[in-house]
Amino acid sequence: QSVKVAVAANLQPVMRTIKTDFKSSTGVNIDIISGPSGNLAAQIRNGAPFDVFLSADTDFPLSLQHDGFGLTPVKIYAQGVLIICSKQRLDLSKWQQLVLTAGIKKIAIANPAIAPYGRATKQALNQMNMYDKLKTKLVFGESISQVNTYVITGTVQAGFTTLSLIKDASNKTPLYYSVISPKSYTPIEQGMLLLKHARGNASAEKFYRYILSSSARKIFKQFGYHI
């Protein structure tokens, strides 16, 4: 029996390792469906046959759970780190000044309405009184994944994304980045929910427990998440 796991886009780099590790320890194959957390939540409401939901925040899984889509309470499995990142050799330690210069034409952020990382970015920029100043430069990716795509193809000079992108060994493109001050945004606590669809699916439960296990935690840490 396979397990369908809906994962927030920021987890894409880490999920490859998780999938292999879970398969080697249990022999169970998981299908990964990734997207902005908000999209996945909407799809679950509309009947998508997912077993486990790994969100990028706690709000989406909580509301699903509240409306009876969950089998378990929402568990926080990791805490995300927001970075600004570029393919160009830029000194991003002073990114706040840098992004205002003319050399930076476009900056990608994830759509705040459906991607928690985008929400956090917006919050941080607002806190620094920068959001309005940058408004004309912003382009909105559907999710963190799309922000990553824009960064790596060089269509934007900078993008706000997740630290796991940097820690992804399979990514061969050299990237330059700087961590955004954690004080400027509410911590990105990422929550998990075992869904109604998984009822009777032992493998799904196994996967749910595995994510909270130490071996999974180790992997999350490797990819820059706080536990």
Binding site: G35, R45, N46, A48, P49, S145
Partner: protein, 223 residues
């Protein structure tokens, strides 16, 4: 490389095209004949799905077929069929979505045929249906082929509706267009390239084949 998205896409496009041929031909014929106000409205309605963005269509299909409420719930409870996040759902959406691509070119072609062909066939005692089948249809072959190719192609390229009601489920609704999108998102550009290339190759062969076949259909008597 995982070939299931491509296989799925081809299946979807083929099933849709066949269904639409069965459905679209008589419809196009009916619409091509003298117009009534009722027909104009019908035609406008048929054309709607084409004019609406796939996301709008997807939205309404989602509302209609979500098992949370309405017809979707009823279907789920009574027949245990679910149209969202399932292959049959994609087929239904594609049929609605591509209908005008089948109907419009065929209808125009029928309108451009001389009336006397129909009249001649009628005097031979042939029914409307026989006339349609043996006289009118064979004389609009190029347009028919165009319509079928457009329909097939439009379905191959379907993305928005699938993204909305399909949900990217491997082997069920992850068609090629979604797989490419997904690969790009995962920064797996090699996979994106592979999918693109295979689609390219398949369709290039298909399209060239059709055109080469069609070459012999183009009339150029004596010269």
């Amino acid at each position: 490389m995982d070939f299931s998205p491509i296989w799925l896409t081809l299946q979807l496009a083929a099933v849709t095209t066949v269904l639409l041929l069965i459905l679209g031909l008589p419809l196009a014929f009916w619409l091509s004949k003298k117009r009534s106000f009722f027909k104009i409205i019908t035609e406008a309605i048929i054309t709607m799905p084409l004019v609406l963005p796939p996301s709008v269509l997807g939205f309404y299909l989602l509302l209609a077929f979500s098992p949370q409420h309405g017809p979707g719930r009823w279907l789920q409870q009574v027949f245990n069929v679910q149209f969202v996040f399932s292959f049959q759902g994609l087929v239904l959406a594609s049929v609605i979505y591509s209908l005008p691509f089948m109907v419009s070119p065929i209808k125009s072609a029928f309108q451009q045929l001389p009336v006397s062909l129909t009249q001649a066939s009628y005097t031979l005692g042939k029914t409307t249906w026989q006339t349609f089948w043996h006289v009118l249809l064979p004389n609009i072959k190029p347009s028919l082929l165009t319509a079928a190719v457009l329909t097939f192609a439009h379905t191959l390229g379907e993305f928005g509706v699938v993204l909305m009601i399909g949900g990217n489920i491997p082997g069920v609704t992850r068609v090629a267009s979604i797989a490419v999108y997904d690969s790009v998102e995962q920064m797996d550009y090699a996979a994106a390239n592979n999918y693109s290339f295979v689609l390219f190759a398949i369709t290039f062969i298909l399209v060239t084949g059709v055109f080469v076949y069609n070459r012999y259909q183009v009339k150029s008597p004596l010269e």
